[in-house]
Symmetry: C2
Subunit: 216 residues, 2 copies
């Protein structure tokens, strides 16, 4: 059964692939599962029909027969559990890959998003420069720790996995900020993710949505 | 094999059960799995021996034979996968319970922690009152959405699950703030979690560590 994923009708990132449907598209491409996309306006995201699928009124959601899921992490995990390629077979290696999924979303992403939000919402406040410096230090601390763990390996904990997919997706938010670039091994890690054919296909698909919306 | 969990030698919350080892203790108590605890000073958490277990230098970790995990969400999931009682048998219900695990940690917890951190770190800044009001609104938005989804059900999506365990753990951080109390159904939901015998046992165990450290 072909799953349906929701995405922004017009992504606020301008088609840079930073919206969270990208993670789900990428995972589906990695395992070779075709999917359909249903686009939503910001207005539609807050209406009852979508809130029934996603209590927090966000994208992405995932519908497959009578199953409906939200939360990009849970959706990527669902895909990884049901197809080969995103979680190791060995039980301990699998548990560690899942650990990196949680680490990406609960340890790395919050300070990165907090910095982004301050850059959008607090730019005109008197405290902005001071706050921004503090937020950048929080992000650097995590990048330094992650870089130390990655060492000179290609991927965290062995081969490519759902954990690496989510970690690369989170770090991509920092691309061009200068912060990621302070850690060359992490910048190279992100570039390895972007170079995967499945990533390229997923990126092109989300980009096409934005291009069509801009032309329309 | 008895697993070993790490916890703070002296929890910064004063034994209120808000440190993240509590979630793991609670999950282990729910499934009836005995465990050992290794206590760590703040200094030890940043030393190489612990960083080898936890790249971000935090607690809890989970060791079981040659498996070592970090991230409370991943550890709770590992426990839930290997024992009955925390995830439904039905595949779709199981996927939804996992969705609530991610929702607790990636949608609900970040604004709650951001508010807590501002209350600790920014209390003396000129911008504090203005920032705090904005942070409280972010928390209220999520509480309102969660409350709407919970409705008059006892638990999110059926029976008690690892998703509810993590959601209650996250909401407990707000207890006494006044914010949780603005949503009586969520306050009652948290109280239902606290009333579970497994929660009570886990709470007493972490409390005893703090009491002993304070007496020592």
């Amino acid at each position: 059964m072909t799953p349906t994923v929701t995405a922004f009708e017009r992504s606020p990132d301008g088609g840079k692939g930073l919206a969270r449907d990208m993670r789900v598209r990428w995972a589906l491409e990695e395992v070779g599962q075709p999917y359909e996309v249903r686009l939503l306006s910001f207005k539609a995201m807050k209406e009852p029909a979508h809130l029934a699928l996603h209590p927090f009124g966000q994208i992405p959601t995932y519908e497959e027969g009578d199953l409906a899921l939200f939360e990009s992490g849970a959706i990527v995990f669902h895909i990884a559990e049901r197809h080969a390629g995103l979680l190791p077979d060995d039980a301990n290696a699998r548990a560690r890959a899942i650990t990196w999924m949680f680490a990406a979303l609960t340890t790395m992403e919050p300070p990165i998003v907090e910095r982004e939000m301050a850059m959008i919402l607090e730019r005109d406040e008197a405290w902005y420069e001071q706050r921004l410096r503090g937020l950048e230090e929080s992000v650097r601390k995590r990048l330094g720790e992650l870089s130390a763990r990655l060492g000179d390996a290609g991927w965290l904990d062995g081969g490519f996995s759902a954990g690496n997919l989510l970690m690369v997706s989170v770090l991509l938010r920092l691309k061009g900020s200068g912060l990621l670039e302070e850690y060359p091994s992490l910048a190279a890690y992100v570039a390895r993710g972007e170079a995967r054919p499945a990533y390229t296909r997923a990126f092109a698909a989300q980009r096409a949505v934005f291009t069509a919306a801009s032309a329309g």
